[in-house]
């Protein structure tokens, strides 16, 4: 095979590989985001527990966060499973739903002291940022 012919084959192969990679990298990005969100939720949970243990928030205030943490974790689980089954509709739906639940969770901390809110806000914003990053190109 002449160098010119080799170049044609290599060029076609590179195009093929680039095409194959382009179709799969998006899913991996969402899967990694789902894992990152899960870690963020665990951080949120442990932060809330620590705030309660230190007396920064009451048991009632901690309890008020509980349904949102469960909803977010369930939605993230559905998101992670949807990635494996390549269910784009569920991925989009769960991301939108989680952003809504996150807003509700933030709203429950409105009555907290500014110092305490700042501590939980960090954990909440990590989850929100991960959702927003992954939503680019997914929810459109």
């Amino acid at each position: 095979m002449t160098p010119r012919r080799s170049r044609v084959v290599v060029l076609l192969l590179v195009c093929a590989l680039a095409s194959a990679c382009a179709t799969t990298s998006g899913l991996k990005r969402v899967a990694l985001a789902a894992e990152g969100i899960a870690q963020g939720l665990e951080t949120l949970q442990l932060t809330a527990d620590a705030l309660e243990a230190s007396g920064s928030i009451t048991k009632a205030q901690r309890d008020a966060l509980s349904p949102y943490i469960i909803q977010l974790a369930q939605a993230d689980k559905a998101l992670a499973l949807a990635v494996v089954s390549n269910d784009a509709g569920t991925v989009r739906g769960q991301i939108v739903a989680m952003l809504g639940v996150l807003d509700q969770a933030v709203a429950t901390t409105k009555a907290w002291t500014p110092e305490t809110r700042a501590k939980i806000a960090l954990a909440l914003e990590v989850v929100r940022a991960t959702l927003l990053v992954v939503s680019v190109g997914v929810t459109s």
Partner: protein, 56 residues
């Protein structure tokens, strides 16, 4: 380059594309399952802890 040679090159590239795509799909599917399993394990832990707290 003759038309026949181009045809052979295209067929070879097509075959290689198929192989590459199959390999990438298999590798990515395994990776996705692994990452997803890790995410699910964490979310299950979070939910279980939260439910235990509510019951307790």
């Amino acid at each position: 380059m003759t038309a026949a040679e181009i045809q052979i090159a295209v067929q070879a590239a097509s075959y290689l594309f198929s192989l590459a795509a199959q390999h990438a799909d298999a590798q990515t599917a395994a990776e996705l399952r692994e990452i997803s399993a890790r995410a699910v394990a964490i979310t299950d832990r979070v939910i279980a802890r939260e439910q235990a707290r509510t019951k307790g």
